[in-house]
């Protein structure tokens, strides 16, 4: 297993809590960190989607990963979970190098991707059970956990219907069940609340909250600022592939808005990525 390298000098932001502020002994204390990236780069042709990203998420955190469209959030998550090869850099999940020891890393993580690619010709129950086998969950536990997940996620009545006949919210709930059936140490969620109704949203929020209470680290990307504000213990903001800020909400508020204690996450976000309203006036509408 490889160890975390020293930080590099490419970090352009000055976040409140920066990985490079950690001492060498701290970064080598791998159990303390759930997700660590160092010098992560991904290009698509001439476009740099992710630019030397250094990120550290502590174990047990509910980490919100924010950024405007095309900022590099999903690209980063795909590199973190081993689905997109970085051009440079490394990713560790619970101390395991994702690209050197992918099977071990996958066993430690659960993933709810932005675009759900479920086995739609299996029923919800079959798919969750299948995932249990894939993660190597003991056979005796699979059935119990599956039924439990179906109950909690309000899928029990439709458990034997094929997933192809499910609604969008039900798709998300099945995908979440699959992502957590093996009790992952780290859960990656890419836009989990996109396109789902408030009822399903509430159910998922509750489950996520419970998971963090039990020590699961959650890495969470979303556009919905209210949800991030309510759930996340720490937030990272990425813009044009560069991590421009990182810290608790309070720390970001102090950095972005000074003494304005009432600033919402949306205000902070817009302030940090430098969006000014006057730039968006359409004078011809008047």
């Amino acid at each position: 297993m490889s160890t975390f390298p020293e930080h590099d000098s490419h970090v352009s932001a000055s976040p409140v809590i920066r990985p490079q502020d950690l001492t060498v002994s701290q970064t080598h204390d791998q159990e303390q960190y759930a997700v660590v990236t160092r010098g992560l780069v991904r290009n698509f042709g001439h476009k740099i989607a992710v630019d030397h990203l250094n990120l550290t998420v502590r174990a047990g955190e509910f980490f919100g990963f924010l950024g405007p469209n095309g900022a590099g959030k999903s690209t980063t998550i795909k590199m973190m979970v081993g689905q997109l090869r970085p051009n440079e850099g490394n990713v560790w999940v619970s101390g395991v190098d994702v690209w050197r020891d992918p099977l071990r890393a996958r066993a430690l993580m659960g993933v709810l991707p932005e675009y759900l690619n479920l086995y739609e010709r299996l029923s919800g129950r079959e798919y969750i059970t299948f995932a249990g086998h894939m993660y190597g969950v003991p056979k005796a536990d699979i059935q119990q956990r599956t039924e439990n997940l179906l109950q909690v996620l309000d899928l029990a009545d439709d458990a034997d219907k094929l997933i192809v006949d499910y609604s969008v919210g039900m798709h998300k709930k099945v995908a979440l069940a699959v992502a957590i059936i093996h009790r992952p140490q780290v859960l990656f969620l890419d836009e989990p609340f996109e396109g789902i109704d408030p009822v399903s949203s509430r159910v998922i929020r509750t489950i996520l909250h419970d998971l963090t209470q039990r020590g699961t680290t959650i890495f969470f990307s979303s556009h919905i600022m209210e949800v991030v504000e309510r759930l996340c213990t720490r937030v990272g903001i990425i813009n044009q592939g560069v991590l421009v800020a990182e810290g608790t909400l309070q720390e970001l508020r102090e950095r972005a808005s000074g003494a304005n204690k009432d600033a919402t996450l949306e205000d902070i976000f817009l302030n940090i990525i430098g969006i000014r309203e006057e730039n968006h006036n359409l004078s011809w509408l008047e």
Partner: protein, 558 residues
């Protein structure tokens, strides 16, 4: 009916862009495939158009007129059926994307009709309709009337096919029917074989008698295509008044169809989203008791002697073979060659010219079986389609994934080999050849799976998805067609070369009448193919982890 020229131009520009980009998509392979498809349609459609043209001109009356009635009716029926079978999916006909804009009904209808002109399939249609105009246009007035009749016929054809599609949409949206049509499409794509029956039927004396006596037109004239044909026929006889009456009726029907089409399309679009995303479900507020849950059989209990992940993958694949129409279609299509190449000739020649003397005829059936499953084996990972991204999220040993998938196909292949070999042995009373035939079949399957594992990991190809409905995503495109064909052909040749020692081990003793050697060569052939499978799989499996992002990129590329 208000029509703005600039809006119509924009709509046609949109259709043109969609058409050209569906062909190009920036890759040489797909451009070559597009040209190949266009050439194929040009040659096939052009050939048929020339044939019908010569029939209109050379066949004595009234048989030539009867042919016109039959050709137009055939085109009409085919064009109604094609959209139902997911062929001719045309993004230009996707009204759900156009209803956002302030377009009048006339603009929408005209743009839809014109947009069909840029379909590759339309090329064949235009050639056939052109043959009618040139075949019957023996003078300028006749040619003009035939042209007019064909334009009206074409407009009605487009409108009618889309109207039928829209009317059946709610039925077609039911998953089971949708699945069935996918399977039917896949099967029809490989049913050129059936053409021979049609050709035999056309060659029969009963058919030519019907042509001579004008039997078909008597009935077909009351259908829209018959009206178009009747209009031309009346003009040919100099009955211009009757000709225009038939043409007028055809035009009125066309207008009614176009009107109904856009009315039903708009009505359908207004209700499409209500049922699409969330069907109304009656909630039964019952709780599943723990006991009931425990009693419920685990769907992936699997086969206990296999590793947990292997049996789970295998059971999943077996379920998919049954439930997924794409996979089921592939499987059924793979069975067709077996029927055509073994069972059908055997029944045709029950006295046995086929299975009597040459050793090749004795054994080729069991080898053919393995080839039939090749379409499922050589692109096994990509055939998972988008779900592969999920599969690669699991901590699944690559060899376990390959074993699970290979075992599924091995199981199917073994059943097929067993059935076909037993049937052949029973029909030809050559039970002594049963074991050699089984040996050859199983060896071929093992080597096919080995080669399939290499191609699946190193040369994955994005499988083409069938799609249909009001919301289409792309035009029919020949994407990757050439590359796919070349890769599979090379893999097939390599497979046959690698299989050669096993084939020789079984066939040579038979040819030279030294069947006693089979005691050595049969186990040797089985051992050889099993070794090839194990060595190849163990060598290539670890590369799957390295290549996972690249495989995913191929499968999920848009």
């Amino acid at each position: 009916m208000l029509i703005h020229g600039n809006k119509l131009r924009s709509l046609l520009w949109l259709r043109y862009k969609l058409f050209t980009r569906s062909l190009a998509r920036g890759r040489a392979g797909s451009i070559a495939g597009g040209i190949f498809l266009a050439l194929f349609i040009l040659i096939f459609g052009g050939g048929f158009a020339l044939f019908t043209f010569s029939m209109y001109r050379s066949t004595p009356a009234p048989a030539n007129a009867e042919i016109l009635f039959l050709v137009l009716t055939g085109i009409y029926l085919l064009w109604i059926m094609l959209p139902l079978l997911q062929i001719n999916t045309n993004e230009g006909l996707d009204l759900s994307k156009l209803t956002l804009f302030p377009l009048t009904h006339g603009e929408i209808m005209l743009s839809l009709i014109f947009s069909t002109l840029l379909d590759t399939m339309t090329l064949a249609l235009v050639l056939l309709l052109g043959a009618v105009v040139f075949g019957w246009g023996t003078s300028i007035p006749l040619a003009l009337l035939a042209l007019l009749a064909m334009i009206v016929f074409y407009i009605q054809l487009v409108g009618m096919s889309q109207l039928v599609l829209v009317l059946l949409q709610s039925v077609l949206q039911r998953r089971r029917l949708r699945d069935f049509s996918v399977i039917l499409t896949v099967l029809l794509a490989s049913m050129g074989y059936l053409c021979q029956f049609a050709i035999r039927g056309f060659g029969s004396t009963g058919f030519s008698d019907s042509l001579r006596h004008g039997t078909f037109s008597h009935y077909l004239q009351w259908l829209p295509p018959g009206m178009a044909a009747q209009s031309i026929q009346q003009a040919t006889r100099g009955n211009w008044g009757a000709s225009f009456v038939w043409l007028g009726v055809l035009t009125v029907i066309s207008i009614v169809i176009l009107y109904l089409w856009q009315v039903f399309v708009q009505r359908r679009l207004a209700t499409a989203d209500e049922g699409g995303s969330m069907a109304k479900r009656v909630r039964h507020h019952h709780t599943v008791s723990a006991v009931a849950a425990q009693e419920r059989q685990a769907p992936f209990a699997g086969i206990s002697i296999l590793p947990q992940q292997v049996s789970a993958v295998m059971v999943k694949d077996l379920k998919y073979l049954w439930r997924d129409p794409q996979t089921k279609g592939l499987l059924l299509r793979s069975l067709l060659p077996i029927v055509f190449l073994t069972v059908y000739p055997m029944l045709q020649n029950s006295k046995g010219s086929l299975f009597h003397n040459p050793a090749f005829d004795k054994f080729y059936a069991s080898t053919i079986i393995s080839l039939s499953l090749f379409s499922l084996a050589y692109n096994a990972l990509a055939n998972e389609q988008q779900s592969l991204a999920t599969l690669f999220l699991f901590p699944l040993e690559p060899k376990h994934l390959l074993w699970g998938k290979n075992l599924t196909l091995f199981l199917l292949g073994m059943i097929e080999v067993l059935v076909v070999s037993t049937v052949i042995a029973a029909f030809t009373q050559t039970w002594n050849l049963l074991v050699p035939m089984l040996t050859l079949g199983l060896s071929a399957i093992a080597i096919m799976l080995a080669i399939g594992n290499i191609t699946s990991i190193f040369f994955p190809q994005r499988p083409r998805m069938a799609a249909r409905g009001l919301r289409t995503t792309a035009n029919t495109s020949p994407e990757q067609g050439c590359l796919l064909a070349v890769t599979s052909l090379v893999a097939l040749v390599v497979m046959l070369i690698v299989l050669l020692p096993a084939i020789l081990g079984v066939i040579l003793p038979f040819i030279y009448g030294m069947e006693a050697i089979w005691a050595i060569t049969i186990p040797a052939s089985l051992l050889y193919s099993a070794t090839i499978y194990v060595v190849v799989t163990m060598l290539v499996a670890p590369r799957m982890l390295d290549r996972a992002p690249e495989i995913l990129a191929v499968v999920s590329r848009e």
